[in-house]
Symmetry: D3
Subunit: 254 residues, 6 copies
């Protein structure tokens, strides 16, 4: 296991740029690293990427110089385990509502005594053949993993003060579309009330000394977010393709 | 089998925009269609996409409204067959050097009497359950398939006049990097001699009433090519990702 | 997202014919559509078809003109999400026993305000690039999805009156073999008591104005069921192959 | 390696019933065995089933009690090798025209001294751990493999007398659709001239003491063929599904 | 479904040797059988092998003469179902702590009346086409399945007396590494206190007339364990490769 | 592209130890590297590993610190291309008989001017984004690739003197089993005549200053070979598993 470069940048208050990916193809991940993204967020909530596919994606990320992360469909400790044993270096968890949810998430991601993660003879642990002994590996792994719950429901916003106090969390990623739905705005996240809520959430996260993240569909959007205190900027494969295909085919429009 | 929208556009002298893809993931193909590309060129020469993977990609293309094509590693009629039986609507063939090569290519792509393609009870033929009877299907398929040999060697350039006369060819796609190597320019296709050669090849193709195509890494490059008579503009997945990742991460540079 | 043709037929009291499939091969699904079935029920309970495989099957169904549905192993909202985000247009849920089970199922399948389904930038939503805006898509999706719990335990039969009142359910599919086991008949569903129970369940479902479905291994069985008020007729891949292989090899027996 | 039950039946002049399959799903193969087919012909000509997929299909065949065979896209000895090393017990080869083609096919399928097949430490050879020593295994394998070239061109019909004399061939499978095309009948194999040609070919094959095979879409067609001297009856997955789906949905038509 | 040879050996107090595998490749499983292991434990806890992959592995095990078992990530009855319907003949369950956990596990593995397992028309049941009728199959399956919970937490050790009394359990497999962590020994299972605890656990299991199992990285370790009453000896793919690669490359060291 | 550590060792006359693998599972490759093998020879002759699977295996090799090589089924330049574009750092080619075969092999593996390999925008070339410009990459790649034809026929032995003079070859790997068959020894490679022939071949290879390689099933066999001038020692996955399973189960025998 190597140092988590994204975690290090975030500690240094540097923005990080990544993509939420619905593609199981490792080559896409490797290219995203070669062309300069910081992290590759395997989507295993709204996309059906399995832990077995994640294993091949993680290898491509390690070679492409991009940090592999995963969004996992539910707060199931053993489903989380299969992704982190494969080498995913952080978890984005949707649907978090309470401090108990968060504590369960932290316990799933960390080895004892910080959590309940089981230890296998796995690649993430270099089959215990690497430079580390078991104790060093466990402490290093517990330190390097990123834990990033999502704020995407009214309940989570209401409980935010308490959520911010749970130990072991690196930050929170706001999901604008589901948050808007949860606040009753079916048309999408464009309503002023949604924007104000998100701004307040980001502010509180920052005041707690944690990382704020959210979605950005372009460099300009990312810039605006960074100016407002967001460090974790999340595009999508669809967003990247839309940007460049629009550029590539512009001659057609003229 | 449906009408080949790319072939129709090319007949109408409209430029078409597509991507040479090294990804076996059907979802990438479907998104490329949703976001506006005209064709998806499965690379089965420099990328190891198999005919079986092509089948799933073709389905995604049909649903995404993008024409599936394939570049195939060699002029092997039965390897070509597996791609076109899966539903690929045209073939880009590398390494063509002689009129004999071209005639063999046409024979592989077309059913009798125009060629030697065998007829199976396959999805491309709608298991012979569709609106067409066998004769109608055969004639329609022979008409709709695109045949696009590559010009990428000195020999092909030398033989161009003869190549242009082979019946059943829709056009030629110039491969600048390999053509430069073949002409002795190991540094890449930037040398003036290479550019002049390519310009002359494009001109001759157009004079013969055929479609000229080549690679373009951006909308500006595509525009410049179209202005010089190129109708078939070919980007790559790497090119698309590089464009948009550079845009997305621009804040980092500042 | 397109109209759910099976839902429309059922609203018009027309019988629908489909297959519970244990095959992950999309081509089998496409052929089932070409040859005239109404729906393809991906079995992800007794067969291990994953959501990622379902994605390719769904595409094949859309092209083959057959409605993709899925039976999912458990009432886990995020596992259901991965299938419906892939494009499955309805869920058959085994093991339902109480109204609470049913309400949870409906919440998993429907977007707010009818349920809790999260909204991603996914293919089912055409990456929000289609003819619909978000509000229209959400309302249309909530309307088109089929929700079909199974009745296969004594508890479900005992609770049937209450189950029939839960909003958002389209009908119920009886599972004769497990129901027989639950009623104590280990030899199979052939006992008169099982048959009487099933007849009563179908009658009650129909009286409640809902769709009744169950398994049928042949056209004759389907006919008999339809005569008794069943509209949703469910064969299996094994059943289809057994029928036709028996027919094909009949010369051997003589 | 076990005895080839299909070869044994054919030696005893018993008809065998099988399916040309375009599905890579091993479960379909296993079910075809359970429900009574004699052989499962993996189509790797008009369908893109790879040798790696064949390996899993072969295992399913061995467990389902059905003999695995393969049609391979071209007479390439090393492509053939990958299928037979996986455990396929016979090869159907399309496009055979001359005695030289046939001799090359036999050399590819048989170990020295009968042919040129290379010997690896592979599963077909039980990793040389089975009851056989190397010599016994080689002799047994050479004996058990089925070699079944296709007759599907005018050239093959013209050369039939010579083809029938090549040692190491078990029989010939007539491909009616391609043969019709080759004879100039684009509408399909229904023309009297095609039928007469096929009848003559079957007669000659039988006179040479070899097995004649061809396609049959139903038990009635198979019966008619068997009555005319055909022993190797070949349906398709599409044919099987069409038969049973038509039967299953018959109530709809009424 | 065939007799479970491992269960039979264990009943006869014979030691069994197997491997916990993190490889989804069926060929590895088949070779492990050919070279003499008794069982192949598919790891679906610390490795991401899916039920769909298990299906192909199970077939390879059946042909290689090795009993397929699976460790499953959590005590989810429907996840267990997908593995046992594929043909896995026993379950090793991690993280068991209470008698309630164990009872739930037994109910998931056994058909009524012993448990709640649902009955499908699946390969494990030979599509109900085999020599058994449904009642015989159910009774045979309930009898042949192995149920092997893991003891790997302090809680499980504390509750051992009660765990030993739950009906339907064949034995317990001690997980030394996680047990050490749970007991507070982060350096690994080498501490005397851990060894003493394991020894006591094994003794109690044997006194209850059940099978004791644990991990062994070599034949010498297995021998030592067998001498202390362990019958179920579990190596890993990593362990096997390390042993033989060390042997194979020994010349390098000299 | 990185330095080829195996080529460097061979230049320094150090023995290298590797495995001919019939497994498509990347994890097996990664573990072989972690436990100390020098190279991983993907078998795509007697095993059906595809170029697409090779891509994932290559990534695992790069991370496991083991050099990825491939044996390819035939001397087809474009099939070779797909493996080397994926990142395989050398080719072992079976069935080589003449100097022309060898020259074709070298041309397939090397870029111009040394050969005819085409240049794509591929991962092996780091998408031309790495530290190298195109010219540097081409020269480095041509230098680092290993070219290892097999000697496994009487013809190759007869032509050896000429084969040894073809430029661009690193060495030759003797295939004892096929060589024995070709020399007329059907029982296997144990005959004295075969041994003498192999010894003579190894001697000649060494005299020509090239690397000699062959198969070895254990460390003792490897040692004996190294003492006789063999540097390239090739075991198999089957060989490794047999060694360690025999060791692990030794208690059973007693
Ligand atoms: Mg554990
Ligand atoms: Mg044919
Ligand atoms: Mg969300
Ligand atoms: Mg050989
Ligand atoms: Mg059921
Ligand atoms: Mg090229």
């Amino acid at each position: 296991m190597k140092e988590n470069a994204v975690k290090t940048k975030l500690k240094n208050k540097q923005p990080v740029f990544g993509v939420l990916s619905n593609s199981p193809d490792p080559t896409i991940a490797e290219m995203c690293g070669v062309f300069g993204l910081d992290y590759y967020m395997i989507d295993s909530e709204h996309s059906p990427i399995s832990p077995g596919q994640a294993l091949d994606i993680v290898r491509a990320c390690e070679l492409g110089g991009i940090t592999p992360l995963a969004r996992i469909r539910s707060n199931d400790p053993k489903l989380i385990l299969q992704f982190i044993d494969a080498g995913v270096m952080g978890i984005m968890m949707p649907g978090i509502k309470t401090a108990e949810d968060l504590q369960a998430l932290v316990r799933a991601v960390k080895y004892p005594p910080a959590g309940d993660r089981g230890l296998g003879f796995v690649r993430m642990a270099s089959y215990l053949q690497g430079p580390f002994d078991q104790k060093e590996y466990i402490e290093f792994a517990n330190e390097q993993m990123l834990v990033l719950p999502q704020i995407e429901t009214k309940e989570a916003v209401d409980n935010l003060d308490e959520l911010l106090t749970v130990p072991g969390i690196d930050g929170f990623v706001v999901g604008p579309r589901d948050l808007a739905l949860s606040l009753g705005y079916i048309e999408g996240p464009g309503h002023e009330d949604v924007k104000r809520t998100i701004a307040r959430v980001v502010e509180k996260i920052n005041q707690a000394g944690l990382v704020a993240g959210t979605t950005a569909a372009s460099g300009d959007q990312a810039k605006a977010l960074i100016d407002r205190g967001v460090l974790f900027c999340l595009n999508s494969i669809a967003g990247l393709l839309k940007t460049s295909i629009t550029e590539f085919t512009k001659k057609r429009v003229i």
